[in-house]
Amino acid sequence: MDINKLIKIAQAVGDVVKVVSPAATEIRARLAAARVEVTEAEWDELAAGWVSIGDTARSEIARKD
């Protein structure tokens, strides 16, 4: 293969890596942050879960078999 073609290919690959590498780092950082951050939906679900346990308990105590 022509040496000039090889150099062009290597440069093209290098350009792609330059673009992709920071993007991948950014994506990894965002994924890590998303895992650490507790969403409002998660808090809502947790709060509702306690109420559900209480509702079941009230229902069971009131139940006459």
């Binding site: 650490v36 998660e42 947790l46 709060a47 209480g54 079941t56 308990a57």
Partner: protein, 149 residues
């Protein structure tokens, strides 16, 4: 009914709830101080809630004289059932308050004493509930899960 001994509790170590209240295992003082402190607290609370909800459903299946209940001696009499369900009402109270406090704490805020107090109460209550369940593989599995929370 089995009795959980002191050594059972000692085996749990600090337990999930102090960790949850502080947000780290080494006694850091702020909820926002460590990376993912709120996530740690949330995960501990969520696991506890899952265990308690499963324990509640398991206990309901064991109430005497209900279809599919175990025979006398292995089942849960209605008065005890009501007492145990009363514990779940307390769990709702402690867990709900602890969730609200944890959720509302801004980053860097010192963990309130009330949160630690609630965490200890909820932890003790969870073990009390599990110790009230008849022995069996399901109860054992819940104990293991709670210890890991």
């Amino acid at each position: 009914m089995k009795v959980l001994t002191r050594s059972t509790f000692a085996g749990v170590g600090l337990g999930f709830l102090l960790l949850a209240a502080c947000g780290c295992a080494n006694g850091c003082a702020t909820m926002g101080g460590g990376t993912g402190a709120k996530r740690t607290a949330y995960d501990g609370l969520k696991t506890t809630q899952i265990v308690l909800a499963a324990a509640q459903q398991l206990e309901i299946l064991l109430v005497c004289d209900r279809p599919g209940a175990p025979p006398a001696g292995a089942c849960v009499p209605k008065p005890l059932h009501d007492q145990i369900q009363g514990y779940f009402l307390l769990a709702e109270d402690y867990g709900g308050k602890l969730t609200a406090i944890t959720r509302s704490l801004p980053k860097g805020t010192p963990t309130p004493g009330e949160a630690i107090d609630l965490a200890l109460k909820l932890r003790a209550l969870a073990w009390k509930i599990l110790s009230a369940l008849p022995e069996g593989p399901e109860a054992k599995e819940l104990e293991t899960k709670l210890a890991e929370a």
